[in-house]
Amino acid sequence: MTMIKTSSWRILRNALQNFQRNIWLSLATTIIMTLTLIMTSFLYFLNVLGSEVLNTIEEKVDLSATFKDDIAEDQISIIAEDIRSRADVQEARVVTSEQALEDFRARHADDPFIEESLRELEKNPLPSTLFIIAADPRQYQTIASELETERYEPFIESVNFENSRTVIERLIAVMSGVRNIGLVTTVVLASLVIMIMFNTIRLAIYSFREEIDIMRLVGASNWFIRGPFIIEAVMVALLSVIVSTFVLYPVLETINPEVQRFFFSGQAEPFSIYSYALSHWTTVIGLEALLAVGLAVFSSLVAIRRYLR
């Protein structure tokens, strides 16, 4: 046991020496590895953000139908009841034109210009509207089509649904575009990491070949000879995880207000990517460490298999 402890300590020390002897190469590897990790984390957060944005938009999808000007309130109630009774409709709420005007007034109470303009109007310009929430977001299309049939044609001016759907589709397209670019970049960076690590270790093995031959001669175990090269690679990996974490979190904290303003404006409790990263730090750092150590072990094992017999 103590022998294993002593050996492990020496292997660690040798790994540190390797790192120091090739300090510039080690630092270069660390930088590329860090970039890879930041890129991967970026992809991860993009995914989180994407699904979060889609969620809020789905919640926000308000299928609405505006009634023609002269439809009686009784008629409106009947239609509302009709729609409400459908199985795929969770809620159907009527906002009459009077109510809409009142709301509008209330919202702009401190704007004298709007106040003035409204007073000059003889007729209420706002239509009565039926707001519909589907039981399942996928059912909006069906409900919208129903409202567009001849049956409702005499009463309904327009069905407002297309807009938000195109927004969702456009958003999905943009997100998947960004994700593809990110994926390609990550793959390129990861390959670069493997190449650089592989070559760093190849050089190290070459410059230590005399020592390695003599180690073999005097009965060094394989682990004693190979260990330092693998440990050195893992040390670079862990260093990269630390550096990328120290870059990532401040960046997230800085961009968070912008992200919130852009995607989640007007929400009482807007989603915060920074708080998400903080509360999921074990996942974030764990995934980074898994990727980094995986890349390091893979490239060092390949180099060792090739150049250390």
């Binding site: 002593t6 020496r10 005399e210 020592e211 003599i214 005097v218 009965g219 004693f224």
Partner: protein
């Protein structure tokens, strides 16, 4: 006890470096192995340190059949079989002390053990006062003594010396041979492959002569003749 039974070694199809060598070397023996260049002396020693594997036959050291030794077992064999060479194979950037300590570190010895043992071993080879010198500051004989000290780091049962005096003048050669005798007296089996007839004749120990890979003579208290 080292025992070779019908050991052959073929590096390639067209010629055997060793042919059906059968040889028994009791523990504590001192054996000189002589023969012309290419006779197979180095090959014989390399089989014992598992640097090479025999093509046929079996080699048994103290009941341990090393013929089919697994790769992971080789380091354990090497710690029982010390080796020294004509070209010393010392680490140039390490002092005499560090070269010996290096071998002990590799074997997992504790730091305190190393600090205690290395001076003792260096004293045995009469180099204690040069412990802090680097190989290029030492004479050939001194370097060979460092390499012997390193080979002794594990207190091996067997010491293989492949032309250890090949690069040394007569005086230094004799120095090294004296040291090998001393180590042998302490209980280590010594196999000495050499071209040096003066050394062999002065030793008056067992001599095994190889020719074209075969044992052609095996004499107690023998002399060098080809």
């Amino acid at each position: 006890m080292i025992s070779f039974s019908n050991v052959s070694k073929l590096y390639s199809e067209d010629g055997a470096a060793l042919r059906s060598v059968t040889l028994k070397i009791p523990t504590g023996d001192f054996v000189s192995i002589v023969g012309q260049s290419g006779a197979g002396k180095s090959t014989l020693l390399k089989l014992l340190s598992a640097e090479e594997r025999p093509s046929e036959g079996s080699i048994i050291i103290d009941g341990w059949d090393i013929t089919q030794i697994k790769k992971w077992q080789v380091p354990y064999l090497r710690r029982q079989v010390g080796v020294i060479f004509q070209d010393f194979k010392l680490l140039p950037k390490r002092t005499a002390f560090e070269n010996v300590a290096f071998a002990m570190e590799v074997g997992g010895a504790k730091t305190k053990e190393i600090r205690d043992s290395v001076p003792q071993i260096l004293k045995l080879v009469n180099l204690l006062e040069k412990a802090e010198m680097y190989p290029n500051e030492m004479s050939g004989g001194e370097r060979q003594r460092v390499s012997i000290a390193r080979a002794l780091a594990y207190k091996p049962q067997i010491l293989l010396a492949d032309e250890p005096t090949g690069n040394l003048d007569a005086l230094h050669s004799w120095d090294i041979v004296q040291l090998l005798i001393k180590i042998n007296k302490l209980g280590t089996t010594v196999l000495l492959a050499t071209h040096n007839d003066d050394v062999v004749n002065a030793l008056k120990k067992r001599v095994v002569t190889l020719s074209k890979g075969q044992v052609v003579s095996d004499q107690e208290a023998g002399t060098y003749k080809l």
